[in-house]
């Protein structure tokens, strides 16, 4: 059943629910909150990448009696942050450190200004151990820094028979592609406030995506029953994955200080600490070896995906999973093998960032498709057209595409709105004859799976609640958080639509584990499709409760609904409904073989980048960026377009600006002065076009769209740079100095092999 019924509120640009507070400055972020008697906390971190802790000394010149000092010995429960791999990442390093900036000692003082000198005065002596800083160093396995082999996670996905396919190839094309670390760079740094009391236990307020992740972590760290830990999300100033798992660690730190100090303790990272110590996007290396026929059809794909996971597992297993599943792109190929590894190194753990592994492998496959086009002698758009997945095809994991899919139509539209053919022809003419500035056009086509991978949503088993008061005003009870994406507004629209009300009749409860059920983490492009659907079901269930009592008829007006709520609450008390996730019947996933329906639905996209490369300054600039995407039903056109534009801007930064400079495992450019993100003067003109093909899994046909726009820009931009400058760059970020080196150097490395070679990628 496809829900394409006309709607009153869904699909309209309803105003951002919490927008008034944001434009007046009244919105309260964590650093805006001051509790009575509150102290401030700070973290003493490791200065080396790996080693045994010999001694911790508290230096002269500080009156240490004024400070509360916490080390690993003060932890009442387990010294670990449980997420995917248990007993891995400690709350505080005790015997040894495994990465620079690892937390070792915590300090608290009533006066924030006194903390810096105290942090500097703590001296930690180490016996250094050999450390690993790159995928290459880790995969050599000469030094083992994690587990038995440095492998945090390994996947093998197999479809068909890759090894037999090479002999039929007209062309074999190989390539290696690399992506760097990327900082989420939310403008609000990480921060929490912890309070402790014997009666209430531990209360955490903070900037975060996933209150129940924090809740789960603290139960273990403090050895407390569930009712003695309460986690409340404050207004959150951007997250992008960077506040998915890290807040659990900071919350534990603040909680330990609060417990020992007997005062509430606030920890707010400054920018330098946040950049140096917290998670970033996993650096990657992807290797593609592909067999194609003389017309450019994919016959076989042998793919290696390698991620740098950093010192602890954290979310690397699931990031690798998404990277693996997206690595074959939106293409049909009967013979695919993907071998993927997340490698441990001695850098701070890499973590979640919008796209969650997909931007890395989409970069690889979409750069590679252009190399195939070149080898075959067809255009980049044509090689994609000839290989696009269609309804009824199976993906790399054997997932049958049941929904209609219109990649060819989207390609046509993207080429049309970007005036691709005319511009490309003109640029080719002009680039040949003239000017220091070369122009080019590049394409990327891709998909992004909505919801948790594989069986994830079954395990999450999400629950939502909806309450109505006597006046008929509704409150949505979810742990799904707002951090800019529009969660609050979208959920209000769903409820208002379902019950014939207006958005003003709906409130969203502040995410507080004492008040809201666990609707799962706010990640994985799942909130609209999964949680939105549950909230829709809860709204229908609430109307059902009123009907059961004969207070509401099948069709009803807003006034009749309000009267029914008044009558119900007068007679029966609180009016509340719930909805729990029900796995779709036709979705099947085999965790052992990594086969089946990886995601309930995919969003699809074709992006076109128009670039200018200045051959005097070696600067590449994105002039125009055209996006066509199919995301199911668009719930709110203003918020949806804002998500796409924001994701594209981050993708432009990923491709051309944002370089994490590493020195012995530590980010050395940990300031906004020298880690550069795009400004209003740098972003291209971004055009957003939606195709709407309602999806049965989401409310009113919606799918997820939040991560999609980060997947495509980088390869589209580098494909355009190849079109402009005639050089195939294979690594991002691509800075002017990188372009200079290649332009000054030799021609591009050859990616064509001798036809018939049967060797897989090394």
């Amino acid at each position: 059943m496809r829900d394409a019924t006309p709607t009153r509120i869904v699909g309209t640009p309803a105003l951002r629910k919490e927008g008034f507070g944001k434009v007046t400055g009244a919105a309260r972020y964590i650093d805006d909150i001051v509790l009575p008697g509150m102290w401030h906390g700070a973290t003493v971190r490791s200065s080396i990448a790996r080693g045994a802790i010999k001694d911790i000394r508290f230096g002269a010149g500080i009156n240490w009696d004024e400070f509360v000092i916490v080390t690993a010995k003060d932890i009442p429960g387990a010294n670990c942050i449980p997420l995917i791999v248990d007993n891995d990442q400690p709350v505080l390093a005790e015997a040894r450190v495994n990465h620079p900036e690892e937390p070792v000692v915590l300090l608290a003082h009533p006066d924030k200004a006194r903390l810096h000198e105290a942090v500097v005065a703590v001296e930690i002596d180490y016996d250094p151990l050999p450390a690993l800083f790159t995928i290459e160093e880790s995969e050599r396995q000469q030094t083992i820094v994690w587990g038995e082999d440095n492998v945090i996670k390994y996947f093998l996905v197999e479809k068909g028979d890759v090894d037999s396919a090479w002999q039929h190839a007209a062309h074999i094309v190989s390539g290696e592609y690399r992506t760097g670390a990327q900082e989420q760079l939310y403008i609000e740094n990480n921060g929490v406030i912890a309070e402790w009391s014997e009666t209430d236990g531990l209360i955490i307020r903070g900037s975060m995506q996933c209150p129940y992740y924090v809740h789960k972590a603290l139960l273990r760290v403090f050895d407390l029953p569930a009712e003695k830990v309460r986690v409340i999300q404050a207004e959150t100033g951007g997250a992008f994955g960077g506040k998915e798992d890290y807040p659990s660690l900071i919350a534990a730190h603040a909680g330990l200080l609060a417990l020992k100090a007997g005062h509430p303790v606030k920890i707010i990272y400054d920018r330098e600490e946040d950049l140096a110590a917290t998670t970033k996007r996993h650096p990657s290396r992807t290797r593609y070896r592909t067999a194609v026929d003389k017309d450019g059809h994919l016959l076989a794909m042998d793919i290696q995906v390698d991620l740098d996971g950093g010192a602890y597992a954290t979310v690397s297993p699931t990031v690798l999973s998404r990277a693996t599943i997206h690595s074959a792109g939106p293409y049909l190929c009967e013979n695919i093998r993907v071998r993927s590894h997340a490698w441990a190194t001695n850098v701070p753990p890499h973590g979640a960032f919008r796209g969650f592994g997909s931007p890395q492998t989409i970069f690889g496959i979409e750069r590679h498709m252009d190399q195939i086009a070149k080898a075959v002698g067809i255009s980049p758009e044509e090689v994609r057209r000839r290989n696009f997945l269609a309804q009824g095809n199976a993906t790399a994991t054997g997932q049958l595409i049941r929904d209609p899919i219109d990649l060819r139509g989207m390609m046509d539209r993207a080429l049309k709105v970007s005036d691709y053919h005319a511009k490309r022809a003109r640029f080719a003419r002009e680039n040949a004859t003239s000017s220091a500035i070369k122009h080019g056009m590049g394409i990327a086509s891709f998909m992004h799976g909505a919801g948790f991978t594989g069986s994830g949503e079954r395990y999450l088993n999400s629950l939502v609640g909806l309450e109505a008061d006597a006046s008929g005003h509704l409150t949505v009870l979810v742990s799904s958080t707002e951090f800019g994406q529009g969660t609050n507004t979208m959920l209000s629209q769903v409820v208002a639509e379902a019950l014939g009300l207006s958005c003003e009749d709906v409130s969203i409860a502040q995410p507080d584990t004492n008040r809201v059920p666990n609707s799962g983490p706010t990640v994985a492009s799942r909130t609209t499709m999964i949680v939105g659907r549950l909230v829709h079901d809860a709204a229908l269930a609430l109307a059902g409760i009123l009907r059961e009592k004969n207070l509401l008829s099948e069709e009803f007006s807003a006034d009749e609904f309000r009267a029914a709520c008044a009558a119900y609450t007068a007679q029966f008390g609180a009016l509340r409904s719930e909805a729990r996730y029900q796995p779709p019947k036709d979705i099947f996933w085999d965790d052992a073989k990594y086969q089946g329906d990886a995601y309930p639905a995919f969003a699809w996209a074709v992006y076109v980048a128009e670039v200018a490369v200045d051959t005097r300054t070696y600067a590449a600039e994105v002039v125009n960026f055209y996006t066509v995407q199919e995301v199911g039903r668009v719930m709110n056109p203003v918020l949806a377009a804002g998500q796409i534009e924001g994701g594209v801007a981050q993708g432009v930064g990923y491709a051309l600006y944002e370089k994490v400079v590493w020195k012995d495992g530590r980010m050395s450019n940990n300031q906004m002065t020298n880690y550069i993100m795009p400004t209003a003067a740098d972003v291209p003109n971004i055009e957003v076009y939606f195709e709407e093909m309602p999806c049965e899994h989401g409310p009113y046909g919606a799918k997820g769209l939040g991560e999609l726009p980060h997947d495509g820009p980088a390869p589209a931009i580098l494909n355009a740079i190849q079109d402009a400058a005639g050089i195939s760059f294979t690594s991002i970020p691509l800075l002017p100095e990188d372009i200079f080196l290649r332009m000054a150097e030799a021609p591009e490395p050859e990616c064509l092999e001798t036809v018939g070679s049967a060797k897989g990628p090394e």
Partner: protein, 174 residues
Amino acid sequence: MSAAKIQLSEIRFKVNGVERSATVPPMKRLLDVLREDFELTGVKEGCGEGECGSCSVLLDGVLVNSCLVPALQASGCEVLTVEGLATNGALAHIQRTFLELGGTQCGICTPGMMLAAESLLRKNPHPDLDAIREGLAGNLCRCTGYMRIIDAVKSAIQEPILAADLAPEETVHK
């Protein structure tokens, strides 16, 4: 160096149209005086080094990063923060266009960004696209990709900006 040894100065200035004073170390950042002494927490800290613009305020009508301004330097000046944009609870035009056109997402850059827009429109009531992009380039936004912020500023050009710094008192923030 302990806090007790620092000489405190009484610093007076007009904040959002109201005479205020604070007795603080003279080198205390204007950002901290506004946030801590006056509880004007709409002024945000993003980087502490003048790169992100989240702490932007107008100082005698000039857009400044309040994290780089010592309180002493603001002595005798008029300061406009986001809390001074609305008048008696009615949103200023720039606030309405940001709200309606999607110019705010997570909201943390919004106060500074609106003040940058306000500053731009006071200097140049009819900026073209390049002037808008340049005028906002000192304020970082990680959510929007700036398109909708630029739209909000374009839309604000259509109507005169309220003389919000003449607002009689703080109206919104409590």
